[in-house]
Symmetry: C2
Subunit: 309 residues, 2 copies
Amino acid sequence: MSGPEKMSGVLSPVVTPFNADLSADAGRLVRQCRWLLSQNCGLAIFGTNSEANSLSAEEKIDLLDALVDAGLDTGRMMPGTGACAIPDTVRLTSHAVKLGCGGVLMLPPFYYKGVSDEGLFRGYSEVIQRVGDSNLKVYLYHFPQVSQVPISLDLIERLLKEYPDTVVGIKDSSGDWSNMEAMLKRFPGFAMFPGNETVLLKSMQNGGAGCISATANINPGAIAALAANWQSPDAQAMQDKMNDLRQMMQQFPMIPALKAAIAHYSGDTDWEYVRPPLVELTLEQKTEMLAELDKRGFAMPGLAEAQAV
Amino acid sequence: MSGPEKMSGVLSPVVTPFNADLSADAGRLVRQCRWLLSQNCGLAIFGTNSEANSLSAEEKIDLLDALVDAGLDTGRMMPGTGACAIPDTVRLTSHAVKLGCGGVLMLPPFYYKGVSDEGLFRGYSEVIQRVGDSNLKVYLYHFPQVSQVPISLDLIERLLKEYPDTVVGIKDSSGDWSNMEAMLKRFPGFAMFPGNETVLLKSMQNGGAGCISATANINPGAIAALAANWQSPDAQAMQDKMNDLRQMMQQFPMIPALKAAIAHYSGDTDWEYVRPPLVELTLEQKTEMLAELDKRGFAMPGLAEAQAV
């Protein structure tokens, strides 16, 4: 296989910091990514939790350039590049490959619903052929609850057959373990990242690649430690502890909740800004969430220092 | 009220012609739009049937410029400008307003599902304020089956209260007459366009503004005639005849079916190209559809001449 190695371990779909005028803040993003790397956590920037589809292609290119200019390791970057329009997907993907990103996470075109596997195959093919670079490593993005456009096992099989050196993995955010298990069995060597750390141990035991999870924005160290030590005797205890945190966080709207936690632990309330159609947590929600975190002795070690300018 | 008059009558969500390499073909689009105007049909370019979300913002701007450069009446244009990312929506909307478009048709941001009315209100507000032009006339776009992000009556009420001179109408593609009827009753003067001509007569009888319908791509003259003559004695017969055509067309995937019909009646097979994730009709589907059209003595008067270069 040519090009970058397959990616593995834990990646964070890094939340995107905004200013009061809702412009993206590259400086804070760079610092956040540096902190995540220090926690042994890779950078799945421009994911669902990054509000990536609320950013224009130009904004994403500028932010990616800022991360690279800051000297962060592009091998640990898996930017989301899948858009509704093929020209946008090609533009962002080509840029990511040119910069040396370890991979890209690619949503299918998600405006039209009920589309055929043939249409999705053609969409991915068109992008891969236009980018035309052996360094391109595509991780498919299966998130039927949000994209409403599922990626079937038959589609994966067809893509793997046609592009074995390019289509190398998937993020499965369906929450459906039976789908993840089926992929692990049917496609040995295909890098399967669950979109949720509650199945991390089970996934590693069955040949999974790691995970790409919302909560890795706030709990990266613990999740990365389990991915690295899943064969250790206390792996189940580690899993149980992070499940408790995840389940608590899931009681709140996830993206604003992650941002409110980062705002609190970094001491920078600007982190709370989200772009419409999302809204920030209510004061009541925020108070409740922070109390729950406090009750668990939760901390984000080194974050305040990393974010201090 | 300042700025353009409210739009009315029948508009076509104009299908976008592609070349074999899937690039957009501005020349054919200009000629198609000219033909539609000759049939008394306005131009809701960049709608769902236009594969607008399969076009980049740059492509849409270039196509709109081509229509304006060709001297077509911008007052009859209602380009779709709603994207997932506010910067894209603002960019396209500002451009349309600057060119003098009679209105814009604005999808809500459609990636995130289950979002609140508050979040959608903020999204529309942000766009309206950033565009900041009294000539902006927004037609909301309610299409829950595809966007999966419905526009509630309460959201409309709030937008009308805050932006009475800007938010002036809606396209309702839900197919749910009770929703359309509720809007006509609750918001007098609000321009309600059903997304389907099968309720055109009923809609006109209840104060509707016209319709914006897929099939207006191939049957514009008949639909426009009913909108103009809904009080005539043979209105119901006109309605029945177009319903029959619509119901037949709905047996096929609509966008490729419209394009196959235009290809056939213009004599230019390049019209059949669609962008992934859509696929063209199978030969069997095309043959069946053309036989059904033929059985009805269907024609697209003047199309071949209009498209001849």
